[in-house]
Amino acid sequence: MYPLSPSRRRATMLGIALLTSSTLLLTGCGRAAEDGGAAGGDATTVDEKPATGTIEIWTQGADGAELPQMFDEFKKDNPDVEINMTQVPEAEFASKMTAAITAGTVPDLIYAFTETQSSLIATGGFDAVPEKLVDPDDFFEVIWDNSVYDDVAYGVPWYAYANMQIIRTDLAEKAGAEVPTDWDSLRTFAEKLKDAGTEYPLALDSSYDAYTARQLLAFSVQNGGGFISDDLSTWTINSEENVEALEFLSSLKTDGLASSDGPAFLDTVPWTSSGKNAEIVDGGPWFISWFDDANGAGWSDEHLTLAPMPTGPDGDAATTVGGGSWMVPSDSENKDGAWKFARFMSEPSSQVKWFEIFKNMPAVKAAWEDPALADNRVLETVEKGLESGVNLPKVSTWTQVGTVIGEQMEKVVRGGASAQEALDAAQAQAESIGMGD
């Protein structure tokens, strides 16, 4: 019989659960931290000597195509190291990683996006970040915190971004509307634009899945709410604050200030370019370059105003954030080299270099002070957002629960349920789904 270590057995169980779920985030495992911190392996000590040996890196997303440029930088001070990189399709990264942990055929280093960190760490197949490898205070708190489970950090943040308000300046000026700063002014802005002829002044997510739920989460936190208790033990989806947030968000659609059906993700640019809507609420920073791609260079500067997300009734700020962190599998054969590369990538100079190469925004605060990033209005807005960023619930069942919340949100928008009824139903379903323990 093939002997499986506890971590691999757990990974196997999780893998089967992941693969039998369309969301790839089913239950079937306990978080590593609950088995005593870095159950998958102990943190190694990392010295200051140059890295040696071969480092196998698996990448997801488009970042991998440009990453070899950073390898060259790393090799300047680490001439004896060899780096092999494999680009993995983003959609199935968690499946591949889980299978690899199960069989012990892992790479030395991966980077995981914020959305997938929970399910990966839940396998118990990753080491804790070695003590003193980096200083947590150097990073934006929200991105550092995303890979911390029961006070154990499993990832060294690489980059981070925050969503924002992206506003059609010309349309707003024509309507005499000012940049929204809170919920009331967001509604006023939308009403003025509607009166001035904009069909749907606000673009809100209308996919009614976990992404839609993520948008509600930002508004809920702005209202003093949230989806999960601080100790991650209880769902708090139907709290009074969340119900109020959903009532506000859905009223924007039911009052015709936003469409219930769009824009779908790819329609966002044409809708805003043509003036069908006048503001993308909770828009990612990458939209700016998309507008230039679609309408010609300089279009964004000419037509768009950027602003942090509006605050709630009591002035609470909250913003949707994302990013990625470096993680080292417990079965890695070159942990020393892997952590050294992760440390190198978190140095401010490397962070700036990577911004210049790929435009990914630094997770290290000091890097934002570099002249290369100064006087950039996108970065300025993102930086403000990162200070009030909200992480997704750090449990492996989030995608399932988020999908349930999104489905219930659609019922409210379509008139099939009140906000209270919808979130009560979502709460009940979330409790039956659990936390993935």
Binding site: Y2, G15, A62, P89, K96, A103, G104, L266
Partner: protein, 275 residues
Amino acid sequence: MKTLSPTRQALNYTALAVITVFMLLPFVWVFFGSFKTQGEFLANPGAWFPETFQIDNYIQLFRDRGFGDYMMNSFIVSSVAIAGNVVFSAMAGYALAKLRFRGKNVVFPLVIASMIVPYVALFVPQFVIVVQMGLVDSLIAIILPVLTLPLCVFIMRQFAHGVPYELMEAARLDGAGEGRIFFRVFLPLTGPGLATVAILSFLTSWNNFLWPLVVAQSQDTYTAPVGLSVASQASNSISFGLLLAGAMVVLLPILILFLFLQKYFIQGVAATGLK
């Protein structure tokens, strides 16, 4: 046989033509989309035609993204899968339909049952087995699970039932052994079945995504669908032009194979009642 009136015939052909056009529309959109720039997709995602035809997507795919290597891997995997399925499924079908052996009545239900088990349930154990065999990150590991597909065994067994016993008995009386009967009598009579098996096994192995992704630990062993998924990754989005150009390239061998074997394939489908 009753002949249709000219009006009825015209109506039928018109209906078929309309349905065909609707079914082809997505392919037409993919074809024209493969010549668009990313900016065009972002400006007007639903547009049918590119503003100017440019073949950059195809050039980038092969020159910069190594798609030629991925295609070659897919060809190797699919070719071996076709050969394996044609040979082994024919043998299995022949044995299950024409030979008598202990446990025969258990084997066939097991083959059918294996078609019912969801693939995801077999996935992780299958991967662990491949690792234990030391085959991870090899084309052999990608090929093994599709070397003999249960559906192909089923098809060949159905075909074997249609081969008259009398022919085989005659061959036996002439002194032919079991191997000779199989190759000289049985196989020539199951052409449509073999063509069906060839197409189905090609489609299965050619379109396989999850298994090659997990087994291939380096990009050297990626097959076309996996390579395409990587190649079309763009910052916070998908490079739609590359994706559609890749889709066209991946589609081409399937079309060619089907065009060559369609006559037999239709016979095979009709004979086995497949849907």
